[in-house]
């Protein structure tokens, strides 16, 4: 079946809308909340208020770009999990209201499932199984995509997300927000020759930890206060090299372990050039393709939400999504530890759309 869907994404600081038909993107509009740059982070109150101010405009823009009228829609989709509660509410309530008014289905979508399936936006014939690395300011996870509607969580971060490590190390170096791109730029002129830890690199599990790296950089700065931009560039380059090496090594290890045909990079950190380059170079020796979706599909966007909604409708039809009783949930997934130690249990972490 083919469906025409208006998808809404407001889980964090992007107000985004997209129109998807037959799994193809007809339009993809993202209004980055630029005012955050002067605040130094994602500010929840501003985020939800700005979503509210922009959502109609962004949704109308998406429909106009796609050349689709409201009555041509089969369904409305929205991100319901995870994210900032106030921001999720704006998108979900907008979508529910529109669906109610149009008498259409409303499909709730997990934001991370959007990232996990974003490889299909880059390549509709994506070869499976695929290992997907989702790395952003809020999340770092490795996922085995077994079929278009089934995936397994291999591991996530125990503490800070990879993008959060970029942002916080950038803060320690006195760089502005968003820190990740600034750190990446500074790193270009530095040699990564400061020995910093590669947390959990030799651990066979697919978990990450970046909190200790942040502490190591803080300690290094205390002992060797940077005297020049060159000093700061060395530290930036060394920190970036440490983060990238762990991400690449774990992703390739997962690809080897599960016989992956493809590797997909998703989330804001996937836009990092060193990560892309390093992953591609090291994957060359294996028969695995590295897929990096276009930048507009790597960052938070509504097209990936529409794609997941389309796949859900293919599986169950619109009648399964007539009730508007679903709610938002700020948490990602429930992960459990093995007994008293820190390690998560992922064996039963297989999910179906």
């Amino acid at each position: 079946m083919e469906y025409c869907i208006l998808a809404i994404e407001t889980s964090c600081d992007e107000t985004a809308a997209a129109v998807i038909a037959e799994r193809k993107v007809l339009s993809n509009v993202i209004a980055s909340q630029q005012e955050h740059h002067c605040w130094g982070g994602i500010v929840p109150e501003i985020a939800s208020r700005a979503h509210l101010e922009r959502i109609w405009f962004i949704a109308e823009q998406a429909l106009e770009d796609a050349g689709i009228e409201l009555d041509q829609l089969d369904a409305v989709a929205c991100t319901v999990q995870p994210g900032l509660a106030g921001s999720l509410f704006v998108g979900a309530n907008f979508a529910k209201g529109l669906a109610l008014g149009l008498r259409r289905a409303c499909v709730p979508v997990h934001h991370l499932e959007g990232h996990i399936l974003s490889g299909f936006l880059a390549d509709p014939a994506l070869e499976l199984p695929a290992v997907v690395l989702v790395a952003s300011g809020g999340h770092t996870l490795l996922v085995l995509l077994e079929s278009v509607a089934q995936y397994r969580l291999l591991g996530s971060t125990r503490d800070d997300a990879a993008g959060e490590a970029f942002d916080k190390i950038a803060t320690l170096l006195g760089l502005g927000y968003p820190g990740g791109p600034a750190l990446e730029q500074l790193a270009q002129s530095g040699t990564p020759d400061i020995p910093l830890p590669r947390p959990l690199l030799s651990d066979p599990r697919f978990e990450f930890s970046f909190s200790g790296l942040k502490t190591a950089v803080r300690r290094y700065l205390a002992e060797h206060p940077p005297q020049s931009d060159a000093d700061r560039a060395r530290i930036a380059a060394s920190a970036q090299a440490a983060i990238v090496e762990v991400l690449v090594a774990k992703t390739l290890r997962a690809a080897d372990a599960f016989g992956a045909r493809s590797i997909v990079l998703a989330g804001g950190v996937a836009a990092n050039q060193m990560l892309q380059h390093s992953m591609r170079t090291r994957a060359l020796r294996r028969s695995v393709r590295v897929i990096v979706p276009e930048r507009q599909y790597v960052l938070d966007n509504a097209a990936m939400i529409g794609l997941v909604a389309h796949i859900k409708l293919e599986l169950r039809g619109t009648d399964a999504y007539r009730t508007l009783t679903f709610s938002i949930d700020p948490t990602p997934w429930r992960m459990h530890r093995h007994g008293s130690n820190k390690h998560a249990r992922y064996e039963d972490a297989t999910f179906s759309l």
């Binding site: 509660a85 996530s156 959060e164 300690r219 002992e223 459990h336």
Partner: protein, 166 residues
């Protein structure tokens, strides 16, 4: 373990590793009861989240306790020694800039929950808005001392917290 928690006194511990911080936090957690609030101060990388993790392990929280910097508020379910379930609310105010934003994340409502234990990182961002009685944990890094930390635990407000009330 000292049980006096008058507003001026504070207990000082030292830790030489993450594991030790974790153990100290678990020991401290034994005095917490439903409704209590704990604020945690310390610079980036001092070990605030590690301390929270120690508290959570005392209450048998099974979820992975990760940084709530992105989500602002994480809620876990744990168990008191009696086996009774308890919610642990883990808040990180790092990204917040104005007092007004505290309202919109519902901080006051979370703090008022009588049946949850509330752990707040970066309380400085709530500057003056945390008027309720609470424990304050300060983790100090020592220059040139690598993993060594000085951990100060005090009570702010009144002496009706933890054991003192029993």
């Amino acid at each position: 373990m000292t049980t006096t928690t008058s507003s001026m006194e504070s207990e000082i511990y030292s830790s030489t590793s993450e594991d030790e911080t974790h153990a100290l936090a678990a020991h401290f957690a034994s005095r917490l009861k439903k409704g209590d609030i704990v604020t945690l101060s310390g610079e980036l990388g001092a070990g605030k989240t590690e301390f929270v993790r120690g508290i959570c392990s005392y209450f048998d929280v099974e979820d992975i306790v990760s940084s709530p910097t992105f989500s602002i508020i994480n809620v876990y379910t744990g168990r008191l020694r009696s086996g009774e379930p308890v919610r642990i609310v883990h808040v990180d105010l790092y990204r917040l800039k104005t007092k007004h934003e505290l309202k919109t994340i519902g901080l006051e409502e979370w703090l008022a929950l009588p049946d949850a234990i509330k752990l707040i990182e970066w309380p400085e961002k709530a500057n003056g808005c945390l008027s309720r009685q609470h424990y304050h944990v300060e983790i100090r890094t020592l220059p040139g001392m690598d993993d060594r930390r000085q951990i100060c635990i005090g009570a702010v407000g009144a002496a009706c917290l933890g054991h003192a009330q029993k």
